[in-house]
Structures are given as structure tokens and as C-alpha cells.
Amino acid sequence: MKNWMQLVLLFTSISATSALLASGGMEEGGRAMPVVSNAKWAAECSSCHMLYHPGLLPERSWRKMMLGLDKHFGENASLDAAMQKEITAFLALNSADKQDNRRAKRINQSIPANSTPLRITETRYFTDKHDEVSANTFKRKSIGSASNCVACHKNAEKGNFSESQIKIPR
């Protein structure tokens, strides 16, 4: 009788936990990063590539990136001084090391203090999370490269990378 009660208890707690996990209520990491917006950031940083949420890199990375826009991953993405300043401030304010969001915090924690990565795909958080995705999958025409988050995470531009929303295209 006692064993039976324990079993029921165990079962209820397991299903409650998984329901919470599915709704994203328990695991903060499953939740979207906070909604952030700045018109200049949204327009300028999405004209050549998808819009990356500021919470994906620490402040020092964004600052370094914004100082090297004339050679931005091999392309000239120069901005005028006022625009550069405003976007840098916005990125810094919402960067991974300034966020309360669990995913942002984990990204930040996965980066050694002495390194300033410019590629999100080079952070240990990213490589760990994608270790089951092969290089060939990333090269698919429907994806392009690992930097094209939106190919599989349709709400990536809103900072939502939750597991339940992943759909890897053929």
C-alpha cells in the first residue's frame, strides 16, 4: 500500500515537471530572451543578415564588433558615427553579461574571461548545444550556415531558441 502511494506521488510529480518544462515555466533557459527594440539596430543590423539578439554575446564582443564594421566578417558594413554610437549603446545595455535571462547568462559563462568572440557560433555554449548537428546539415541549401539561426529556430530574431520550436529543414 505504501509502495503504491509512493508510485502515484512519483508519477504525479514527473508529469507535473514535464508539463512545466514543456510550457517553459520551469526551465528559464527554454524561455525567450527579453523583447528588446531599437529601430536603428533593427534596420541596420538586419539588412545583410538575420537580426541577432544582443543577449547572444557579451558587451566586450559587441563593442569590438562595432569598432570593426569596415571589415565585418569580410564585408564593409560601415555606419556613420551617430548611428554607430547609438547601436553600440543599445547592444551593450542588452548584452549577454547584462541580462537576467538564463540562456544569455549561460552563453556568457561559456566564454573565457580572456576571450572576446565575435562569432556566436564559436562560443562553447553554441558548440555544446549543436554538437548533434552535422557540418553537412548546416551546409544544406535551406540553411546556408550555422550563423543562419532562423533556418531552424523560426523565432530566433525575437530571442526565442526554445527546443520545442526547433524544426530542421530538409
Binding site: C48, M50, G74
Partner: protein, 135 residues
């Protein structure tokens, strides 16, 4: 009274950004005359050649305007990061060449990416003339 002054002021400030492609060409023309006293007008044919001619970039890759914009400016292009570029030809995309700051921003970036130098006013004018000639 004050209101109308404000409206006039707004219109004037708007004017510095908004332009017609013809106004843009006028500006390039006066710049081109300064660059070359023997300026002989803009040529859509030269613009077409400029658009399609591939050159070897110092990174080892062949590149031209058409690399990203495709050989037909009426088509959508694609950036290297997989993003759609709306067509360049005003016949299908009338917003092109109506915002001087935007035009200068992209010439500033893309001339350096393709030619590894700034474009001359002659080249910019030929390019715009070519885009306007497309039906």
C-alpha cells in the same frame, strides 16, 4: 504662422534625404565635372558593363555587383548571409535611388567590397543611368 514655418522647415529637411533618381544624377554630374573637366555625360551601357564585370578580389574570389544582385537587376538578389536583396531596377522597385543617404551608404560599402576602393561620381552616375534604362 508658426505652424506653416514648421511645415516648410520639415519639407526642407525632408528634401535633403528624399530625392528623385534624376536629382541624384544631377548631383553626380556636378561631382563628375569636378573630377574630370572632360566629363561627357553618363552612359547606361557603361553602367551595365560596370555592373556585370567581375574582378579578382584580394581575397581570391571573383566578384561583381551581379554576384549578389544577380545579372538581371529586375530580380531579387541575395546577400552572402542569405538575406533577400530587393531588386535594384526602379521599374520593379520604385523606392530605389530616392534616398540619397541610403544610396551613398551602399555605394560606400559595396564599392569597397567589390572594387576595394571608392567609386567615382562617373561610375555611380553610369550605374544609376543603367538602372533607370531597364524596362
Amino acid at each position: 504662422m508658426r505652424k506653416s514655418m514648421l511645415i516648410i522647415g520639415l519639407l526642407l529637411s525632408f528634401k535633403t534625404f528624399a530625392a528623385t533618381p534624376q536629382e541624384l544624377l544631377k548631383q553626380y554630374e556636378s561631382q563628375a565635372k569636378q573630377e574630370h573637366s572632360a566629363f561627357a555625360g553618363f552612359s547606361a551601357e557603361k553602367g551595365a558593363t560596370f555592373f556585370k564585370t567581375e574582378r579578382l578580389h584580394s581575397d581570391g574570389k571573383k566578384v561583381s555587383c551581379a554576384t549578389c544582385h544577380t545579372a538581371d537587376p529586375r530580380n531579387q538578389g541575395k546577400t552572402r548571409a542569405n538575406k533577400v536583396i530587393e531588386p535594384m531596377a526602379p521599374i520593379v522597385n520604385p523606392k530605389r535611388f530616392t534616398d540619397r543617404a541610403k544610396v551613398e551608404k551602399w555605394f560606400g560599402r559595396n564599392c569597397r567590397d567589390v572594387l576595394e576602393r571608392a567609386c567615382t561620381a562617373q561610375e555611380k552616375g553610369d550605374y544609376v543611368a543603367y538602372m533607370l534604362s531597364i524596362q
